[in-house]
Every structure is written in C-alpha cells, then in structure tokens.
C-alpha cells in the first residue's frame, strides 16, 4: 500500500491529511460546548477593561505573566483559588500564558491596588527591589483605543451572544452614547492615581493606556 501511495501523490496527500486531522477532531470537539460555559455571576468585560486587555496584548505582558493558577497548595497559597474553565468564558483570546518570568496575574485584583499598579508600571524596581521588569512609562502618555474596545464588545455580542446590554449597537451614535460611561469608569480609576498628567488627560476626556490596564488588572479576581 505504501509503495502505491508513493507513486500517487494525490492519494498520498489525502492519506496524510486524514492521519493528521484525526487527533484534533477526537481531542478538541467532545468538550467544546461545555468548556465555554461561564461560571455563575460572570460578567462580560466593560469597554474600559477590554481596552486594558488590548494594552496587555499590545505590550505582550503574556511573554512573562501567566493567568492560570494550577491546583497545587503552593500555588493557591501564593495566588488564591485555582482557576476554573468557566471563569474564562468571555476571554477571547485566552491569556493563560506559558511562562512565569513574573508572577501569575489571574487574581491580582484581590491583592494589588490602583496606586500600587501606578507606581509599579512607572518604575517596577522602586516597588519591588530586584525586579527585572521594564518600566512602562509610555503607557502614561499613549492613549487607550476605547473605540476599538467598544467595537470588540459589539462584535462578541452580535457574533457570539456575549451578554452585553441592548445599548451596545453597531452604530457610531450608539458608541457616542456609550462613551461617557467609559470616561466615568476612567475617572474613578484616575481619582486613585497621583500622576497629574494622567489626571489632566482623563479630565479632558482622553484615557491614557495605564488607566485602562489598571482597570483590567483590578477586574482580575
């Protein structure tokens, strides 16, 4: 049979494809629906939190930080309750990570505060002596892309039935109507910060990246 396949490239290719496609079908499909079911009480991310998640992706925090606590005593002592699949139901993409050059962040909202993050993002080594994390000062001046975050919320609502409210519509007008809510969330974060430039920017209706990523960090619980 193998000799015959080696003379018939088409059937050879079909054979290879069947053999390699097999495992994916068997392992991924059976639990697909179950694995995307949210835990009770899980709320979708707010637009500001989504914008913060985009900052997290943009600066590739995932290169050094995980968001997945394994069921070992050493991990639950350090980070809190081990992670459940239903907690990630609204995470697109998942951000579990594969490397802990820095600590896990899945429940960082439980034990770090807005002002801790502000100081830490500005100069990590002042907060954690010996830290090798770079400072992310550019997040204090770059503005978060909240319109794209809103577009994401609308997209997941319409395409994947993520439970966002009726006010989330795919129109410019709906976005303009929602914008004040995002700004209000940002003001609540900025109130706990001390950087005057950030406070001024938010007061003027602009949201620096650091405000968004802190909103996202505070949400991780």
């Amino acid at each position: 049979m193998f000799h015959w396949l080696e003379k018939n490239p088409f059937f050879f290719a079909v054979g290879v494809f069947l053999v390699i496609a097999f495992a994916g079908i068997i392992t991924i499909l059976p639990n697909f629906a179950e694995s995307s079911r949210p835990v009770v009480g899980l709320k979708p991310y707010t637009v500001l939190e989504l914008a913060g998640k985009e900052v997290y992706k943009k600066d590739a925090c995932i290169a050094c930080h995980s968001q997945m606590i394994r069921p070992f005593k050493a991990e639950t002592d350090r980070y809190g309750q081990y992670s459940l699949s239903g907690e990630y139901a609204y995470d697109r993409p998942f951000l579990w990570g594969s490397k802990r050059t820095g600590p896990d962040l899945h429940r960082i909202g439980n034990y770090r505060t807005t002002d801790w993050h502000e100081n830490h993002m500005w100069e990590p080594i002042d907060v954690v002596p010996g830290s090798i994390m770079p400072a992310y000062k550019h997040q204090f001046t770059n503005l978060a892309d909240i319109e794209t975050a809103y577009a994401e919320a609308v997209t997941v609502k319409n395409v994947f039935a993520t439970p966002y409210g009726d006010e989330f519509q795919a129109t410019k007008a709906a976005w303009e109507a929602h914008k004040p809510k995002v700004l209000a969330d940002a003001k609540a974060i900025a109130a706990d910060m001390k950087n005057q430039d950030v406070k001024d920017a938010v007061a003027a209706g602009n949201i620096p990246e650091v405000v968004a990523i802190i909103a996202y960090m505070n949400r991780l619980k």
């Binding site: 490239p9 496609a21 392992t27 694995s35 290169a63 990630y88 600590p103 550019h138 129109t171």
Partner: protein, 488 residues
C-alpha cells in the same frame, strides 16, 4: 538519487530564498541575543523606547525565527531538493517559475510587514500566532502558492516515485495549512461593528478553555510541522547526498514518517497539564508524548546508521559533523520533551526557563544546524563555486556547539531551581520564598545564556560571511560535485 547530467536545474527561486533566510536568521538571532541580555541586565530594555522592551521584542524574535528564518530555509531547500528528486527543472515551466517568484516576494514582504505590525503592538497574543488578520491573509496566500509549486512540480515530474523528502514537504504543507487556518479563525471587529475602531483588530472565534485547546493543538504542532517534519525531510536528502551513503533503512523511514504523522497531533495538550481543560485530554497528551519518542528516534537512528562504517567522514567533512550533531540534538530534544510532558515533572517544569531551554536545544542544535548545513551543501551547486573557507566552518561549529550546550545546561538549572523554590515550604508549611527571590536567584544563569546567545550569534555571522564569500569570490567550479562539497 543518481545524478542526471542531461538536466540543468534552475535555482533562481532557491537562491532568492537563501539570501532572505540568511537575512532573517541574522535578525532573529540578533533580537534573541538582545532579549536574553535584557533578562540579565534590565537597563537594556530602554534602547528604542516603547518598541524595545523585552515583552514587545519577544514575539518579534520568535516569529522572525519561525516565519522568516526557518520557513525561509524550508522553502529554499524545497526549491532545490524538489527539482532534483522529481527530476524536473523549474525552467521547464514558465508558470511554475512565475508562481515560485511570486511566492518568494509575497513571503518576503509579508514577513517584513508582519514584523513591523508586531513591533507596533498589533498582536493576537496567541503564541506563534500573534500576527493580526491582514498578515494571516498574506500567509494563507503564500502557503497556497507554495502548494501550487509543490503539486505543480509533482505534476510534471519524470521520477514517478516520491522520494522520502517529498513526503515530508507535502506533510509540512498540509499540516501547517490545517493548523494555521483553524487556530487563527477570528472576526475582524471593524467589519462586524459597522466600521468602528481599528481595522487591524480582530477577536478570536474561540473563548477561554476552547481557545487554549485550539491554540496548543496549533502551538505544539506548528513546532512539529515547522521545526521537525521539514527538517527531517531535509536531512533525508542532504545527509546521503553529502556523505555518498544510501539511507540505512527504507522500512524505518516508513515507520517513522507515518508514526510521526499519527502521533504528533495528540500531544499538544501537554502544554496545558493541570489547567482547566478536560483531564482525559491532558492524560492522553502525556501518554502520546512518551510514545512520540519512537518515530522521532526512528528518524534520528536511521540517519546515524546511514553513517555506519563511514564515521571517518566526521573528521574529514565539517558538514557531516553539523548533520550528525543535528540528529543527536534532535534525539536529546525529543527525549527531553516527553520527560517534560510527564505530569509530575511538568508540575515543576511548566512556566519555568526549562521550557525555553528545551525549545532552544531543538531549534539551535537541530533546526538551525540542519538549515545551515543544507545551505552550505547547496551553495557550490547553485553558485558553481567552492565553499569559501573550511576553517571558518570549523570555528563556527565549535562556537555554536559550545553555545547550545551553555544554553540548555544553564536553563536546566534555572528552571529546576525556580520550580523547586516556588513550591518550597518551611517547617510550618508556609511558602519559603517570595516571588522576587525566585527571580533574583536566576541572574547568573541569565548571564550565561546571554553569553551563549553572543557565541551563537557570532557563529551565525561567520556563517553568513562564509556564504556571501562563497557566492561572490570563491574559486569557480567546472563541474558539479558528486558528493562531498568542495571547500577551500
């Protein structure tokens, strides 16, 4: 595999890919060495503002190494090997020549474009699938073009039986096509929201644990079909060609090929041990990872036995040295991987530096060694000049071999140290170390890895110099060498 003097092969596409492979290899290893240094000396994070942090550069390093250097090397060798094992010249078909060149330019500009978008921060944040959707579209197009090249050449072939290397190129084509498309399924938000926000942004079709399953099915097997399958195909061609020895066993190559195809795809979830994906999937991945030793070692042993009775060539021919050491590193890497996939070992190893250590004994010791040896073998035949300097190859060999050994030994120690410290408890059962203790302790190992990066990078620069000299100013050859590549 006898030579066919009547046929004049056309290497114009293979040459283009060779130049670009060297360029991307240079960039990937330069950035890799820089980010290794950043972990040891964090001040290096601020060389180019927000674009120079470790986190922003790490995906640039991995993606340039994969989609620039490795994939480029696979294409370069395909446009060389494909013609020769199928006994057909690219010059015979204007259509295939056009497709080949189009393939090159779309790949080249696609890879540049993708690198720039990553630097700017457009990222899906899925490992080795960071490229946002416009770059994904470019990749799909160039992959289809490669498929047309493969099956076009096969369509006009004279040699009816597909040689082993062709099996592996076909499998690479099919495997990556399937994996890449399914893992990158995403909805561009601009179009789904009536034109709001950035046109570059998209959202994954899978959420949470499902996304994790699909991603690591992809992530692990992108390694399989990018870093293993085509490289095995390359060694099946280049080792016999360079040594003048026939492959030791056809049956073993058959077993290894079909075994690898069937087993590899089950193993992806070993990246998700103790995570919230179903337990049975994790166990299955663990078991299949162990069984995977068989086909991996099957290929490697087949290569080593091909050299049976001819071990003197190791001292006479540095290219044989590269290839034999490459298959040895392949054996090391494919034993280390399954060990890390055992659940109790993984509990310590996961999230630590042992994992990048494992990756790099594979990519530096196996993949890059094979690509460089293959390009060295191709150079005298493509450019009709002897290799510029044997001495430089020897220097390069020892620099880079030392580098690989330093890399994986330092990361073994770093990884196991960190894994043990994370779980260490005192006599009352409390955690002994705060997280930062487990970071500062790694400084010497990060410094050793930086040194390893510098050595390997210098070796690569020597390789590039040797290749450029071979192309431009080395002694011209009057006829094509039969086996051993001539070198000054």
């Amino acid at each position: 595999m006898q030579s066919n003097a009547a046929l004049e092969y056309d290497y114009s596409v293979a040459k283009l890919f060779t130049y670009a492979t060297i360029l991307f290899g240079f960039l990937a290893m330069l950035i890799g060495t820089l980010i290794a240094a950043q972990l040891a000396f964090p001040e290096l994070n601020y060389l180019i503002g927000e674009y120079g942090t470790f986190s922003r550069l790490r995906p640039v390093h991995t993606n340039t190494a994969i989609f620039g250097f490795t994939v480029g090397g696979v294409f370069a060798t395909f446009y060389y090997v494909g013609q020769r094992v199928l006994k057909v010249s690219m010059a015979e078909s204007k259509f295939l020549m056009f497709i080949g060149k189009l393939h090159f330019w779309i790949w080249f500009f696609g890879a540049l474009f993708a690198t720039i978008t990553l630097l700017m921060g457009y990222s899906q944040s899925k490992e080795y699938a960071q490229y946002e959707w416009p770059a994904d579209v470019a990749i799909v197009i160039l992959w289809v073009l490669w498929g047309i090249s493969i099956f076009g050449l096969i369509g006009i072939r004279r040699e009816k039986v597909l040689y082993i290397s062709m099996w592996y190129y076909i499998a690479t084509f099919l495997g990556i096509a399937m994996l890449y498309i399914f893992n990158n399924m995403a909805v561009p938000t601009y179009f789904a929201s009536g034109g709001l926000g950035s046109i570059m942004h998209s959202v994954s079709m899978y959420s949470g644990a499902n996304d994790a399953m699909v991603q690591w099915w992809y992530g692990h097997n992108a390694v399989a079909f990018g870093f293993t399958v085509p490289i095995v195909g390359m060694i099946y061609y280049f080792l016999p060609k360079e040594s003048g020895q026939a492959i030791y066993s056809y049956k073993l190559s058959l077993l290894s090929f079909w075994g690898l195809m069937f087993l590899y795809l089950w193993a992806g979830a070993h990246h998700l041990l103790y995570s919230p994906v179903p337990d049975w999937v994790q166990t299955m991945a663990s078991v299949f990872s162990i069984v995977l030793i068989l086909p991996s070692w099957g290929s490697a042993i087949n290569m080593l036995l091909t050299m049976k009775g001819e071990w003197n060539q190791l001292t006479e021919n540095p290219l044989i040295k590269f290839m034999v050491l490459a298959s040895t590193f392949y054996m090391l890497s494919t034993l280390e991987g399954p060990i890390q996939a055992i659940k109790s070992v993984n509990a310590i190893a996961h999230f630590t530096d042992w994992i990048p250590g494992h990756v790099h004994d594979g990519v530096l010791g196996w993949v890059t060694f094979m690509i460089m040896a293959s390009l060295f073998h191709m150079a005298p035949r493509m450019f009709k000049r002897e290799i510029y300097s044997r001495k430089l190859i020897e220097v390069q060999f020892w620099l880079q071999t030392t580098a690989v050994v330093l890399y994986f030994t330092s990361m073994w120690i770093a990884g196991i140290t960190q894994g043990m410290m994370w779980r260490a408890v005192d006599e009352y059962g409390n955690l002994m170390y705060s997280f930062i203790d487990t970071v500062t302790v790694l400084h010497p190992y990060y410094a050793i890895r930086t040194l390893s990066g510098v050595l390997y990078f210098v070796g690569f620069v020597i390789f590039a110099y040797n290749m450029i000299k071979t192309m431009s100013s080395s002694r011209e050859l009057t006829e094509e060498p039969q086996f051993k590549s001539p070198m000054a």
